[in-house]
Symmetry: C2
Subunit: 600 residues, 2 copies
């Protein structure tokens, strides 16, 4: 087992220095918080993760989930973590005081989530989804629903879920068929099947509250006829919890996240499943997107955090394992050198840092926009909303896809041991792979980015983001040692804009299928430029910090290390942009189905 999984110094650097959390506390909504208390919150999160999560990572994997006689058993630590997270206010920590929360900035809540996930990604989904589900009720539910469900959820007593997917409706939510039939008492009878429902059922929670999409009888076809319901495992009748005809038909046996239950649910087999409408009828998908957007960023954070934990495990190994000798002096009379002294090992460590620290910086950037949106009004609010919208699919996808490569590099550092169960690397490798599938696959995120976010309001969000990046380019351009990197990113930004224009022209001609055909390649290019921006930002702050001559040696090394990783990103990662752009600009259409061609 490795001894560390996150770098708290790095997290505080990102929160306080790069993304300036203190600025938020100047807004009345966040005024009760101070920079110091926010730091203390992060330290508290680390302590909770150290105590309740990290020691159980391997156990969760090996214990897995048991399903017998229709009952689901998860590792005992799940209930303990739910309780601890509830008691410490982490479930719904960002909710307003009125709704029982701490009005914590998302920047802090996200980073705490990152710490939890890095410690044990098999446990964090339980409280995480509970908070997301509670937020949906808080935002759109009636007072009665709020009173009935939210307090127990925030206390970690009741589990929350989001229940969208059906066997025939995964990526294509328009095809949902779970039905909701109105009853005289204002409730609905629910009938249908949901699959891939995370946290969907387990014995050691009192109740499971499904935020479920279903179609009211006679509703319009497609997404416009989808409504959102609270469908509890046990419903309240006369103050008693009674079974609500939600049956767990099975669980999914996954490659990773073995300690995190994924269920197959059947509702209304005995015509006795009641659901309670949230908000207005037929507006369910729009409501659900609030939760999904949060969940997407959470997935990105989860992927970054696993990559972080894997980085720390491989760094520790590289610092302890002797093997071979450096090229300068390969005499066999001397002992073997530590492998961290070999360039190829250093390159693989740098790949990991570049990806995982770049990813979490992007997530904190999103959190900052989210917080600013919350406390601002009018055009300002709209601006932050758009920035958050365009970055959400990127924030989900870059860490999920590149995180796989990051962890794979970590395995490689351990050699054969990396493939064996004596070390945590293989679990991280299995665990992280689901992130590119959760909450909309990479393909779906890419369609969202290019097909919706980039083109919305005539490209307004895209232009806003360009503006944000330009600001960083200017700041970097004013620092002699960063000028070159500022220019490099400037060129890539221009290239991204050119590619976007090229694709938009195809859309304008009406060939939407061709326009979106390479959306995933576009996403890769977009992610690269966006994360390069986050690195340049970190470079600017680090250079500014280094101008303080009173810095301790340790601090100096921290900032120099940051600049080193930034340079690495620009030399080893960013150059990939040229090839991606070339692919996107190619006139050959090789992936769109043509009736005259038989390719497979």
């Amino acid at each position: 087992m490795a001894s560390e999984y996150v770098d708290m110094r790095n997290l505080k650097f990102l929160v306080n220095e790069v993304h300036r959390a203190a600025e938020l506390t100047e807004y009345p909504y966040f005024a009760d918080h101070e920079s110091e208390t926010l730091d203390m919150m992060l330290d508290a999160a680390k302590q909770l993760a150290d105590d309740h999560m990290f020691p159980y990572l391997e156990e969760c994997d090996r214990f897995g989930v048991l399903f017998e006689d229709g009952k689901v058993t998860v590792h005992p630590q799940v209930a303990k973590v739910m309780k601890a997270m509830g008691e410490n206010g982490w479930i719904g920590s960002t909710f307003s005081y009125d709704d029982g929360g701490m009005q914590l900035p998302h920047m802090i809540a996200f980073v705490a989530e990152y710490i939890f996930e890095a410690a044990n990604n098999n446990l964090t989904g339980y409280p995480g989804l509970t908070g997301g589900a509670a937020r949906l009720i808080v935002s759109f539910g009636s007072d009665e629903l709020k009173e009935t469900y939210v307090p127990n959820m925030m206390a970690g007593k009741w589990q929350g879920t989001m229940a969208l997917t059906e066997p025939q409706a995964g990526s294509s939510l328009s095809d949902i068929t779970t039905s909701a039939t109105p009853q005289d008492d204002g409730s609905y009878k629910i009938q249908g099947t949901k699959i891939f429902i995370s946290s969907g059922d387990y014995e050691s929670t009192e109740n499971v509250i499904h935020l479920m999409l279903a179609r009211i009888d006679g509703a319009p076809k497609g997404t416009k006829g989808i409504s959102l319901f609270v469908v509890p495992k046990h419903r309240l009748e006369n103050g008693q919890l009674v079974a609500n005809d939600v049956i767990t038909a099975g669980i999914f046996h996954k490659m990773g996240q073995n300690g995190y239950v994924t269920t197959h649910l059947s509702m209304g087999e005995n015509d006795n499943c009641h659901g309670y409408l949230v908000g207005e009828a037929h507006r369910g998908l729009a409501y659900m997107f609030q939760m999904m957007n949060g969940a997407r960023i959470a997935v990105g954070i989860g992927a970054s955090s696993i990559a972080s934990a894997a980085y720390h495990a491989s760094l520790q190994y590289a610092n302890e394992r002797p093997q071979g000798r450096r090229w300068g002096d390969r005499s066999l009379d001397q002992p073997q050198t530590l492998i961290i002294n070999h360039p190829d090992i250093r390159r693989m460590l740098l790949v990991q840092r570049a990806i995982s620290e770049g990813s979490i910086s992007l997530a904190i950037q999103c959190a900052r926009y989210s917080d600013l949106m919350h406390v601002s009004e009018g055009d300002e609010k709209k601006k932050y909303d758009m920035l958050l919208e365009i970055l959400t699919p990127v924030c989900k996808t870059y860490p999920s896809e590149e995180g796989i490569r990051s962890v794979s590099n970590g395995i490689q550092i351990l050699g054969g041991y990396g493939y064996c169960k004596d070390f945590p690397m293989e679990q991280y490798y299995r665990d992280i792979r689901i992130m590119a599938l959760y909450e909309g696959t990479t393909g779906i995120q890419s369609l969202d980015l290019l097909g919706r976010k980039v083109v919305m309001d005539n490209g307004a969000a895209f232009r806003l983001l360009m503006g944000e990046i330009q600001e960083t380019l200017q700041a970097a351009g004013a620092i002699q040692s960063l000028k070159n990197y500022s220019q490099l990113l400037g060129k890539e930004l221009k290239r991204l804009a050119d590619v976007t224009q090229h694709l938009a022209a195809i859309a304008q001609k009406g060939d939407i299928e061709l326009f979106l055909a390479d959306a995933t390649v576009y996403m890769e290019l977009f992610g690269l430029v966006t994360v390069a921006w986050q690195w340049l930002k970190q470079g600017v702050i680090s250079e500014q910090a280094l101008s303080n001559v009173a810095l301790s040696d340790g601090e100096k090394q921290f900032y120099q290390g940051k600049i080193h990783v930034m340079k690495f990103f620009f030399v080893y990662e960013l150059p990939k942009a040229a090839g991606l752009a070339k692919t996107l600009l190619s006139a050959e259409s090789l992936t769109v189905l043509k009736e005259t061609e038989a390719v497979f």
Copy 2:
């Protein structure tokens, strides 16, 4: 379970049309074979794989390997496959008639291996390593060793292994310490520990024959003091097999290839382990490299084959799963379309074909050089030897690294199901990950490529390879529809030569550590260009075939499909070369350890 795992039409296309196996049969050594009989051999391999291997893939994974009371139990099918492979002559099929083989060209043996591995990569290592170990004895052992061991190994009765790695000596073989003390009877007493020994022990084989590296007492330090021994689990004494003090101390629990045993061996704990010298003392590493080179290509084939099996599984899913609608007509009144009709799914299928079919073509190219080397003399022999030498690390690494991405794309096509154990994708994903570690990690292969093969004889092998690629460029340049692709590859070839010259100049200045620092990035560039060459070759042959107007529709579609995948490689993969070259040409040295820097 998927219904197919290889495309026999593709394999015969590569063997007969692209790499012209028939030409080999014109040499006396191969004269007993004909094109038709070689095809029949491949069909026989497919039948054996269908009957004995493919149906057991999942079982092998779930059954795993048991270790109790010092005894190793593997799935019962292991012994059956060893028997079938022995009886059908596949173990040592390429050996000469004198040595009990079939004088089969490597081109056929490799493709058969590919079929076996694609069917069940958990089983193929057992006969594969046995053949490799037998070859070492045949090539360098005394007549007595040959007579004692080889027939039982070729019959599949005795298992063979290669035993190199020790706890302190993995990548750094110079540090091997297993000792060999000369005895009066000419044998040696062996003492030491070996780890990560594949096929190292199991009850259902009569004997295990380790081809083991050890150091004779008083031998020089480093690789020049390493000798090769036969160290059997049971030695023959007076015609009886008696225990030879080779103890299995444990097995490794791996993420994948769970049905393939990896052992931890301890020799001579009771001072009763006898080893028998193979060839001359202190020349063991050179001998072992014969087996390692074969094993490296076998690993590349293994990776290609898993990628192939995963491709077929995801293709089948894409052809059966309806989801969503095409952009042209998204009306909800029509049923959902099959996902194979979506561009992003087609792109992911094409990524898989581009990687897996490009990889196996490269392996067959290596096999061809190996066969031609075998039957030629003098300069001609030297030429093929050098081509094989320079391509071996690439043939091992490209499929191992890119194969991961290939299978990952396959998982993505299945969505959440790809991550679940109901489908074979997750097993393929776990299984293939070991290939980048086996027989020298990617880092070691890359040092071998750049540090040895590219620079040997003043770049002679590199120039020979350039010449081979140029031949293909000329052939393609003469075909109107391929001219553009010929030019594209020509440019990348030039770029690779420039990068190589740039790096060689650093070596000439004596900074070997800097010269080799980015060897892995160089490997990636080299692999890309090499596989593009294999695709252009396939394009040339396909265009020539299409000029035959009498072609059936099915055949026409096959060749058109090939050209389509070739184009895909040139549009989606080859453009990556520019970025890699940029990284390699960068003047910043970010991965070489500098005492003044603290990066981690």
